[in-house]
Symmetry: C2
Subunit: 250 residues, 2 copies
DNA sequence: CGACAATTTGATCTGTCTCAACTATGGTGG
DNA sequence: CCACCATAGTTGAGACAGATCAAATTGTCG
């Protein structure tokens, strides 16, 4: 009860975008959590359902997605430490589904406990609010990415974003990182077909920007990749302490 | 002091998605507001700026947008009663710009006053939070719209959304409504070119779904338009009292 | 080894873009 | 009051990014 690894993970995540006092951190450490394991490709919660708890991702990767007539659209990707369904704290019904892209472990936190926390600790209420605003900011960047960029720029941008966010969460270091998405899933995230993702990754590799081998991606030329993607990490609203150095790791 | 039209407008907007008590409404009525007029096509706030106040839209239409190498991408459209920049209550820097699509009047509300309100009235804090979550929900639907739907479906979906939202705000009644966007702006909102918007609107008209004449759009066959667009208004998270009847106005 | 999922390749097709010209439409100043 | 100009809408022709379809290849795991 309390003080566990899950609580530290949550605190770490919150502190990538908000500052907390020791009292705030202690309050988070007292949050009751219920662990659960979810298999790969299983939905954690489905569109239309109503939820009574949020889920903190402890390990693995999940995505949020919608099914429309044109196929599946992935809306966001989340890593260990993220709370992908913070939104249903104040919206009764899910307007999208959350799915495990790998086998994952999650910690469920009751809405009641989170709301009580928000009432007693305004800084945490603001941090939760801020968290959902950052999610919104990332969603807006995805709108622009899908709406106005070419395939190669879209893919490069998604890679840059995941790279930067995983660094902030301590899930990547150096120029290689593991992003467990299939090419079909990369397509669903960027609004492209699987075949075109395949060809686009080959182009990125031939151009000497990125080397992708299965789920392991190696940044070959960060500066040129960033320029191609038109990637400006400001929209992630990371605190300075969580950012990559400007010049990047290369 | 207070009790003005702007305050009623804000209350009406909040009540399309959250329930308030009389005490909450009174607190909103005491909010100090500073009116301002903005010309068409002027930015109200620009990407990168830091803001110390939110703006409540009193009349006219504004959009949020980003400029990327591929052009401009409109991220959302807002009508009288909306607070398009609720987000910068907890994020220092704008990650996008807000622009007046028509001549508009706005009421600025200081962040300090809003934060004080949120502290004293938890229901309002939740309503503000809920507001930004609904904005996020709409953004996610736009991702799916742009990423996975054909041009004609995208345009139809945007029209359905604006129609439904304007009804909820009391800005439209019957089957005709005025949406003051040029075809170029419709293109920027849907990730399409101006020329293709033009042809798509003609197709919608020839198919007997929608008749657009300048900025006045007339729903000719709501059911078929909704079906084509794959439009399900659940993502707007409107309270029952603000919804269109299921069958729609036709 | 067999089976199944993921990746890769080739060929063809098609939505949508781009470019360019032309036509309303409306506002402004001479 | 009209000539002018800017803005928005319309049309046509051609180009191209990316989709689709189908098959082959590779990888993975029981």
């Amino acid at each position: 009860m309390g003080m566990g690894v899950p609580h530290s993970l949550l605190i770490r995540q919150i502190e990538t975008i908000s500052s907390l006092s020791e009292g705030d951190r202690d309050a988070v450490r007292r949050l009751p959590m219920r662990m659960r394991r979810v298999d790969q490709n299983r939905d954690i919660i489905k569109e239309g359902q109503r939820a009574i708890e949020c889920c903190l991702l402890l390990s693995g990767v999940v995505c949020r997605y919608k099914i429309v007539v044109g196929g599946r659209q992935i809306l966001s990707v989340h890593f260990a430490g993220d709370v992908p369904d913070m939104q249903n704290l104040y919206l009764e019904r899910m307007d999208h589904s959350v799915s495990a892209m790998t086998a994952v472990t999650v910690a469920h936190i009751a809405h009641g406990d989170l709301r009580a926390l928000a009432l007693g600790y305004p800084a945490l209420a603001a941090a939760f609010h801020r968290q959902s605003l950052v999610d919104g900011s990332i969603e807006r960047e995805w709108i622009a990415n899908i709406g106005r960029r070419l395939a190669i720029e879209r893919v490069a941008h998604l890679i840059c974003e995941c790279y930067e966010r995983m660094h902030a969460l301590g899930l990547a270091s150096g120029e290689s990182f593991q992003l467990p998405l299939t090419q079909a899933e990369l397509g669903d995230a960027t609004g492209l077909s699987t075949v075109h993702i395949n060809r686009t990754l080959q182009t990125l590799r031939n151009d000497g920007l990125l080397h992708s081998d299965g789920q392991v991606h190696t940044i070959v030329d960060w500066k040129r990749l960033r320029d191609l993607a038109d990637f400006n990490p400001a929209y992630l609203h990371l605190l300075p302490s969580a950012k990559l150095a400007d010049a990047g790791p290369i």
